[in-house]
């Protein structure tokens, strides 16, 4: 236990400290931009990123994963912030944490396997589209110089890494563009125009909301959506970090850790956050493997806020927009466009429906639900075909059923049989390749048997597996004396 803890914290000190610093630098522009998406002061996102990272370093289940203020969460809270204000956001953040703690306690990670991959692909693609759309008001039709700055920022972001890989290029772009804007005297909108940066340490306080049922009814829907979106992205990120580092992680502990981190963040005046795919990839690429990397990222970020507060307000919005466009390009799963022709059409439909639902409702959790529901329907439709083949043997007719006999397949199943076969006195139905799942399946078999009996043909069932036959024994009427279908 102790050696495990020591390894998770101090197994890779040099790599963890360096990568933590890199991540802290890369977090600044994103935390500010996500605050602006949510409609709150940049400090709310910066404090959240500090406290999420530090708490999750201790409480998370996936070492080297980075949690902070994220775009996915920011997008969910927009309406709450606009309609009810900041204090309700803090309260919702705390409630989000409580919900996640409960979900983690209920071992939510097991449920992840029921979320189809096409829904997850739709989730990241929708997220990318929403992040991009949130940038549009900040750069379309403002001024020519705004376009120039956005383009120059993107150029630096994508060209700089070809020469220097150790410093995150978005930060370089922000620094260069801010310097040009300040010393060149360009008239551009800055971060300072949208909110304040205070160079103070975050403090512990209770959100200023009335503690009553009305408050709960205001924050609960948002908190529920936040907790689901946060866990989805966190557990997806955990799987990605697992794969990158070829190690495993405790997903339920991660879910509980996310909960604790959000509770703490809410009390320190931060917005709800979750794990970040992009930053976690940067961390692992830069050599981060242990909990120390996440801890350093959080603490160094706070240090930077303290030192750089005055500079941050001068960052031109156009440069931040450039960074966010990069984030959205990086988030989008471009391979899903290429695989459109290769994967089953139903998978593509599920993906597109997930994306469209999110873009219309602006709520990632609704898109995920729509996607899961649709793919469940597709799956049911796919397995609801029971094959029935027949063969004669003297005056006996043999049927062979293969597939799943359940509510969605029984109508077609019953129609597969010929109930007035000529010169047949006995019918045998072989179920050795079929499974009877529910009372609809049993009722269908009843119907078939009784129909033959009406026509004076003897029916026998064979090959039923144990589960199917015990269900038939319990619920069927055809094998009971005077068996008749009820209601017929």
């Amino acid at each position: 236990m102790f050696t495990q803890l020591k390894k998770e914290w101090f197994g890779n000190v040099r790599g963890d400290i360096l990568s933590g610093i890199v991540v802290a630098l890369a977090l600044i522009p994103e935390a500010i931009a996500f605050s602006i998406i949510a409609g709150v002061d940049p400090m709310v996102g910066l404090y959240a990123s500090f406290s999420m990272a530090v708490v999750i370093a201790f409480m998370g289940g996936r070492p080297a994963m980075i949690s902070a203020a994220t775009g996915a969460m920011a997008l969910v809270m927009v309406t709450l912030v606009k309609d009810h204000g900041l204090q309700y956001l803090f309260a919702a953040t705390i409630l989000t944490g409580i919900l996640q703690l409960i979900f983690g306690g209920l071992k939510i990670a097991r449920l992840m396997k029921f979320i189809p991959r096409s829904v997850m692909v739709g989730f990241v693609n929708a997220l990318a589209i929403l992040i991009f759309m949130a940038q549009v008001p900040h750069f379309i039709g403002i001024s020519t110089m705004t376009y120039v700055f956005v383009a120059a920022t993107l150029a630096i972001i994508y060209i700089f890494p070809r020469f220097v890989k150790s410093i995150p290029s978005p930060l370089v772009a922000i620094v260069v563009m801010t310097a040009i804007a300040v010393f060149g005297g360009f008239d551009l909108r800055t971060v300072g125009d949208l909110g304040e940066i205070t160079q103070s340490l975050p403090s512990f306080f209770f959100p200023d909301v009335p503690l009553n049922f009305e408050t709960l009814s205001i924050i609960f829907p948002t908190a529920l959506a936040l907790s689901i979106v946060g866990l989805l992205e966190s557990l997806l990120t955990a799987s990605i970090v697992d794969d990158m580092t070829d190690t495993t992680s405790d997903k339920n502990r991660e879910a509980r850790g996310q909960g604790i981190a959000n509770i703490v963040t809410g009390f320190f005046g931060g917005m709800a956050g979750c794990a970040m795919i992009g930053q976690s990839v940067i961390n692992v690429k830069s050599g981060g493997r242990g909990r120390l990397s996440t801890f350093v990222a959080g603490t160094f970020l706070l240090f930077l806020i303290m030192v750089l507060g005055n500079v941050v307000v001068q960052i031109p919005m156009a440069a931040l927009v450039g960074v966010m466009i990069m984030v959205s390009i990086g988030t989008f799963d471009w391979s899903s466009l290429k695989s459109f022709t290769k994967i089953p059409i139903t998978d593509s439909i599920v993906m597109v429906v997930t994306v469209v639902t999110v873009v219309i409702t602006h709520d990632l959790s609704k898109g995920v639900f729509a996607g899961i529901l649709l793919s469940a329907i597709f799956f049911t439709a796919k397995i609801s075909k029971v094959d029935v083949s027949s063969s004669h043997n003297g005056n006996t007719l043999h049927y062979r059923a293969s597939g799943q006999v359940f509510f969605a397949s029984v109508t077609d199943f019953v129609d597969e049989f010929d109930y007035q076969p000529e010169g047949i006195q006995k019918v045998n139905i072989d179920f050795s390749e079929a499974h009877v799942w529910d009372d609809s399946g049993v009722a269908a078999i009843d119907k078939i048997v009784l129909k033959y009996r009406e026509n004076g043909i003897d029916v026998s069932l064979s090959g039923l597996n144990e589960a199917s036959s015990s269900m038939i024994k319990k619920m069927a009427v055809h094998d009971k004396p005077d068996g008749k279908l009820s209601g017929h």
Binding site: K113, R117, M120, V121, V124, R162, L236, S239, I240, D242, D243, M244, T245, D246, I277, V281, V284, K285, D333, S335, S336, S339
Partner: protein, 138 residues
């Protein structure tokens, strides 16, 4: 010394030619071959999104090596497959040096020649940093 031969493969045509050479070497020296497939950090995200779980992922990656494995099976050289994670160059070097590999065999370029031009060649990095002889196949 009974070290093994490390064949780095991404399933490309260059890697297939490298497999031919690795087989010749393995036969001549009577050595075992380890086929290393490197999953790049950036590839992890895509693969995790598009697979149902780690077993499914493993199978899909093995599929990339299909023709390489076929060659080795036909040649009756004994071999094993190892999936490495990381940046291809350093990952191959680290594995070769830590596992006392005798020879590293790899193609001169991979699937994406444009990327190689920009990022610097994997084969060059391996040749420079591996502690054993490296055979780069054109």
């Amino acid at each position: 010394m009974n070290g093994k031969i490390l064949l780095a493969s991404d399933g490309s045509n260059h890697a297939l030619r490298a497999a031919d050479e690795a087989i010749k070497l393995a036969r001549g020296l009577n050595k075992e071959v380890i086929v290393a497939y490197v999953v790049d950090f950036d590839q992890s995200k895509k693969d995790v999104l598009h697979s149902a779980g780690s077993i499914d992922r493993e199978q899909k990656r093995r599929k990339q090596l299909g023709s390489t494995e076929q060659k080795l099976q036909d040649s009756e050289v004994s071999y094993s497959v190892k999936v490495l994670h990381g940046t291809p160059g350093p990952a191959i070097v680290e594995y070769a040096n830590e596992n006392a590999i005798d020879y590293v065999v790899l193609g001169s370029r991979g699937l994406n020649s444009l990327q190689e031009m920009v990022l610097g060649s994997v084969s060059h990095k391996v040749a420079k940093r591996a502690q054993c002889p490296v055979l780069i196949v054109k």
